[in-house]
Amino acid sequence: MSLIKNGAFAEDQFQSIADDAPLPANGTIVSLARFGREREALLARNAPLGVRLKSEESPEALGEDVHRLSVVVLEFPKFRDGRAFSWARMLRTRFHFEGEIRAVGAFLYDQLAFMARVGIDAFEVRENFTEADFARAMGEMSEVYQPSADGRPTIRSLRARARSLDPTPPRP
Amino acid sequence: MSKLAQILTANRLRDGEVVYWRDGAWVLSLAEAARLGDKDAADAALKLAGADVADRVVVSPYLFELRPDGRPVKEREIIRAEGPSVRRDLGKQARHVPV
């Protein structure tokens, strides 16, 4: 597995640790369950921390603690399970989380653009996936109709901008 | 577990045409399909069909049962073999594909 972050391959600064395994010295990602059990000890560590959410686990469970995390990992057990799209968007727009949101699991190339829009900025991808593949996925649709966590201008705002430059009304 | 003979069918990937298994190949007509008399034969055919799925020849292969008189148990398979009952001018029935 490789990590793509902000469109380019990146070194993974974290280790994802099982519930019963000892914690490494540096960047650690644990399950929500473990975070719940060992919260104080984990937050007291002088090392970057991340929590891994299953698709049925809402970021609401982290509450204000989310601001003490460097990364939230969202699992896609099956590509059809689209809950993580809401979790990512929620992390950005409700909690204003500014850390890394990383997608792991069974998502498709064809979901990448949606994932980026809702605020996912890191992707665990299979071995033969390239940066060019990623760029292509990001570029397939030039414009978007609706606002999302990415804050991209919508087609409506682009139209308004175009109209202010040329106010001729469209023929009905 | 089936005591009735079975036939293996699928749809061609590129055009969706209904096809039937016969000795490692896919034929257009139910009449020419291989009758798989026992579970071993049916399982073997299904397994070989898996290779054709991987090779992008067909999709969704599955087995269906025949009555002792050779007619499919399910009405669905009769319609699938012929074409829509309400448009006898369309589908395999119109191309005089023997059923």
Binding site: G82, R83, E140, M141, Q146 | G16, R80, P84, L90
Partner: protein, 556 residues
Amino acid sequence: MYRYDEFDARFVAERVDQFRYQVARRLSGELTEDEFKPLRLMNGLYLQLHAYMLRIAVPYGTLSPRQLRMLAHIARKYDKGYGHFTTRQNIQFNWIKLVDVPDALADLASVEMHAIQTSGNCIRNVTADHFAGAARDEIEDPRILAEIVRQWSSLHPEFSFLPRKFKIAVSGSEHDRAAVKFHDVGIEIVRNDEGRVGYRVYAGGGMGRTPYIGHVVGEFVERSDILAFLEAVMRVYNQSGRRDNLYKSRIKILVNALGADEMRRQVMREFEELRAAGTLEVPGEELARIARYFAAPDFGAPTDDVPEFDAARASNAAFRAWSDTNLAPHRAPGYAIATISLKPIGGVPGDATDEQLDALADLLDEFGVGELRVSHEQNLVLPHVRKKDLPAVFARLEALGLGTPNAGLVTDIIACPGLDYCDLANARSIPIAQRISERFGDLDRQHDIGELKIKISGCINACGHHHAGHIGVLGVDKKGVEYYQLQLGGSGAEDASIGEILGPAFGEHEIVDAVEGVINVYLERRERSERFLDTVRRVGIEPFKARAYAGWAFHI
């Protein structure tokens, strides 16, 4: 009607390229069928019984002459010369090849059409009253909101992998011709006490295995808030809808599990947050801008007194019969709304040939009608016809086999494609519709019976909307043999109700007699000018049940 600007045009063109790439990756093996299936469904492509089927979106059921000609072209070039109009105002082609679909979509894009999100676990085609912009009782043209919702829902990044499909309908009149209460979200345009126009939003309606009527989740949502409100509903559904059981994953299950109050509470929580953020506000000028696309044409003619129309009715029995049933009052004097029946006696409901589609385009141009509508009852509608043109229009329709004078009558049957076409079906529905239609073909008999909506589904997915039929028929499979369950008293209008099942299923050779039996009970028991539906509601199903099963060996 709405016209694409450069942004809309680029959007559908890029979508075609995207799908072309997906097809290429499927054919090369880079995508398995399991991975490809949701992607092709999001472009309306099913694998059916005989072949692939392409479902093309007809937003709020509105088609221009140019689009009709392209549909005729698609039928000829890529299919077998005909298309089928559905209960969601879309059109389906049954014999398409996977390898041809990208080219077909490119052709469609050239006339501002697409197949985006007509299937898959995403927000589907937004449907609306097929009399929009023409009906006398209209508060506001529902297509204005429907177009705004269409754009907002197109490739929505958060809601493209929902637990299940999501269907939205909009009604702009007091009389609901869009069946909004049977949709995942239904929107009624309403006026509040201050006379201000806003939206009543229902959620959790649906057909299928467990039919439900929607609950009000927003009694009066302000125009500017509507997208924030819909987004709130979608958030709750995406997060909490069940994903463990295919048959329990629609929003109707969630609403009924939580209860309407808790559903409203959760929606309001999201809604307050969205409204405060302001990103989904629909400004007045945007509403006005979209509304201009749907501005009524200049109707001109000041009088409803049209001697040519009256003369034709007096002299031409066929025209009189057709104008008795197939016309609806138009808001403009001198005009009428004309329903084109796609239910010829004994024919396949909802089908149209390429020649008919081309001829309808010519008709629209010649008589200045402007656009065609598709109803959710599988008929077509000419929304604006000058009454003085009606005799000539009728003559043309009659010559095309589109002049059947049965709108809303017993032979105006809604039927899904059923086991003749559909991979999901348990039984055939079209032949049952044909045989009922033939049994009741006599026009005098049809008029005696009056308004009667028969709806037939070939499986529990209820694409024929049988739960909302005055008479509903559901095809079931018993050990490989087709059987038919009969239910009575459903309605998809503002008086929404779910039909009640009479009892054990009827065999293929019994069902038409059973239907005739219940219709006879209605004729015997009706009072005053009651419709079939009214009599069922007044007397209950027992007398109908007794007649339907008369002659069965055991007592029901």
